[in-house]
């Protein structure tokens, strides 16, 4: 199978879907002439014109609000939030409007829209440009939340997101755009709420999301060197969450770690750990462990930044402790 980058996989999904459905409209800052600061929308302005690739002022509340209005009137807007951190200036339109509109209307309207955004550390962008805020989005009812970790998943899940009739938030990881991976030429989609076992194993379950999938896979390699067989499982969507698969894996291995790049405290690892601890209670040999980002705003210095997130070594160490191999 051909290998393409994460970024190209996303662009293909956008192009194919925009060709299919003329109601899909992109909105965002610098997405046109420049093709987006991470180049995901490169070439789309030429292809689809300025009405469908609409460059906006620096008015996130304004254009996400406009996307809500477009979605309620028959369009399928896709708003690009250049950095997830900017969700905070558009919070009302995302969390009070897009997420709640259908329910408040008693099902009278629907709000089919996608917010594509980009998250995570690793680029020295410091505290206001490096957050992983999936917890906030998954906590609020009314939004679906997608966190792809491979080019294959990215393309298939983005297509599903675009075809969904609800507000979907799609999180890309800023360090992953150049990651290459196999993506078939043929059309495919990936359903929401289906976790993917990225590596099968028997001794310990590592649930990992987005960028942390690769960290977990690296950890699994390290673990195999010391005779520990780790299963790496990627929920792919945070909501809906494939609880049964996660619980089954924990039942099978009887030990589990949950790894995510968001702040650990009151973060998504807590939800996942607690549903696993509940569902697999009588099977667990040890408490479910959580590993997220340190409880600090992301520091700038390269001497500090990477220390705030889980690494292959730290995840492997945790697994060894759980398996009694230290």
């Amino acid at each position: 199978m051909r290998e393409i980058t994460f970024s190209k996989a996303l662009r293909e999904a956008l192009i194919e879907e925009m060709e299919r459905d003329p109601n899909i409209i992109l909105l965002g800052e610098d997405i046109g002439v420049y093709g987006g600061v991470f180049k995901v929308t490169d070439g789309l302005l030429d292809r689809f014109g300025p009405e469908r690739v609409r460059e906006t002022p620096i008015s996130e509340a304004g254009f996400i609000g406009a996307a809500v209005g477009m979605a309620m009137t028959g369009k399928h807007p896709m708003a690009e939030l250049m950095f997830m951190d900017f969700a905070w200036v558009a919070g009302d339109q995302i969390f009070n409007q897009a997420a709640k509109m259908r329910y408040m209307s008693g099902g009278r309207v629907k709000v089919p829209m996608v917010i594509r955004t980009q998250q995570g550390g690793g680029r020295g962008n410091a505290a206001q440009h490096s957050q992983s805020l999936e917890t906030v989005f998954t906590h609020i009812p009314g939004l679906k939340v997608v966190v792809p970790s491979t080019p294959y998943d990215a393309k298939g899940l983005l297509k599903t997101a675009i075809r969904d009739e609800n507000p979907v938030v799609f999180f890309e990881d800023k360090m992953m755009y150049n990651l290459e991976g196999p993506v078939p030429d043929e059309e495919y989609t990936i359903p929401f709420g289906v976790a993917d076992i990225k590596r099968a194993g028997t001794d310990v379950t590592i649930v990992a999301t987005s960028s942390m999938v690769h960290v977990a896979l690296g950890a699994a390699d390290l673990l195999s060197e010391v005779g520990i067989s780790a299963e790496v499982i990627d929920p792919r969507t945070m909501y809906p969450l494939d609880t049964p698969s996660l619980v089954d894996s924990a039942k099978k291995t009887s030990r589990a770690i949950v790894v995510d790049e968001g702040y650990e405290r009151y973060g998504v690892t807590a939800e996942i750990a607690s549903v696993m601890a509940d569902g697999a209670f009588y099977y667990l040999d040890a408490p479910v462990k959580r590993m997220g980002a340190m409880d600090v705003p992301v520091p700038f210095s390269p001497a500090l930044e990477d220390l705030t997130v889980p690494t292959e070594a730290s995840v492997a160490d945790m697994a060894k402790t759980l398996c009694g191999k230290v």
């Binding site: 304004g62 609000g65 209005g69 309620m72 009137t73 028959g74 339109q93």
Partner: protein, 320 residues
């Protein structure tokens, strides 16, 4: 369309319906039938009706928690509206939204909104749809004077201006945002002065004169339909009731309220109909009787409506 004689009487009828409807709501609130917060537009019926008469049923609209009058003027079934206020299954939102969230896509109503300023960009999006689809629909967004200090208002005004969107920004300047006088919260003489910052056309109108409101709105709608872009309308109006049921009104004087009450459109407009348009007292009385009968039916319908199905509580979060 210019207003025909019949339109005028119909306008009065709608205004009166809104007034009685809201007075009934206040009663229902006091008797415990209506829960939550209730923000009557009593005194502001002329803006709702004057503006909505200039619109088509398929035009888009957003408004605020104080939007009952606008919703009814745009065509919301008053029975469904009252049932919604009582939290019943037959409400326009099946009881899930309540007073601050009336929504009815059939009449283009994309929601009242409980967040100040939030409906403004949403209406901008609807106007974008209209522009893209070349349907010649327009969008209107109603909001209060206090909303002009909210960021979302600003961002939405600018987007509409740069994209020449078919939208009317309709500001009901009722002099207060909750309990705060707007004059302390802006440094301009009229809120219409704000529009210049966006290169947008603007006008201030007497919001107690339904015909004047109709005329400026009609002009703005014509411009929007003709592709000439957005208009900001500031209508000077006043609530004859408090901000919400329960408001003790320490922030304004009785004399001020009385001054405005003299101009109450519900009493002055019928006089005008008689004095200037040749209607008779009997015409007015007939309309009044009709409204009273309708209202009795509305209340009965709402009170007798069933409660929402508890088993459906978790439905409608997502579309299938």
């Amino acid at each position: 369309m210019t207003l025909e004689r019949d339109d005028l009487l119909q306008m009065f009828k709608t205004m009166l319906l809104i007034r009685h409807f809201e007075e009934q709501c206040v009663e229902f609130y006091k008797s415990g039938e209506i829960h939550g917060s209730l923000h009557p537009c009593i005194g502001q019926e002329a803006t709702a009706v004057g503006a909505c008469v200039a619109l088509r049923r398929d035009d888009y609209m957003t408004c605020t928690y104080r939007g009952h009058g606008q919703a009814l003027a745009k065509g919301l079934d008053p029975k469904q509206a009252m049932a919604e206020l009582l939290g019943r299954k037959t409400g326009c939102n099946q009881g899930k939204g309540g007073s601050m969230h009336f929504t009815d896509p059939d009449i283009g109503l994309l929601g009242e909104n409980a967040i100040v300023g939030a409906g403004v960009p949403i209406a901008v999006g609807a106007a974008m749809t209209a522009q893209l689809d070349k349907t010649d629909r327009v969008a209107i967004t109603f909001f209060g004077d206090g909303a002009v200090n909210q960021g979302a208002f600003h961002e939405a005004m600018n987007m509409a201006a740069i994209w020449d969107l078919p939208i009317i920004f309709f500001c009901e300047n009722n002099l207060y945002s909750e309990m705060t006088p707007i004059k302390d919260m802006v440094n301009v003489a009229q809120l219409a002065d704000r529009a210049a910052a966006y290169g947008m056309q603007a006008v201030t109108v007497d919001g107690y004169d339904p015909i004047a409101v109709y005329e400026v709105t009609k002009a703005a709608v014509d411009r929007a339909r003709g592709g000439e872009g957005p208009t900001f309308i500031e209508a000077m109006t006043y609530r004859l009731f408090g901000h919400m049921v329960g408001d003790a009104e320490p922030y304004r004087t009785k004399a001020e309220v009385e001054e405005w009450r003299k101009r109450d459109p519900i009493t002055t407009f019928p006089k005008q109909l008689i004095d200037k348009f040749g209607f008779t007292k009997a015409d007015i009385e007939a309309v009044t009787a009709e409204v009273e009968a309708e209202l009795a039916e509305i209340s009965r319908f709402a009170l007798e409506s069933p409660w929402p199905d508890v088993s459906k509580i978790a439905e409608d979060v997502f579309a299938a």
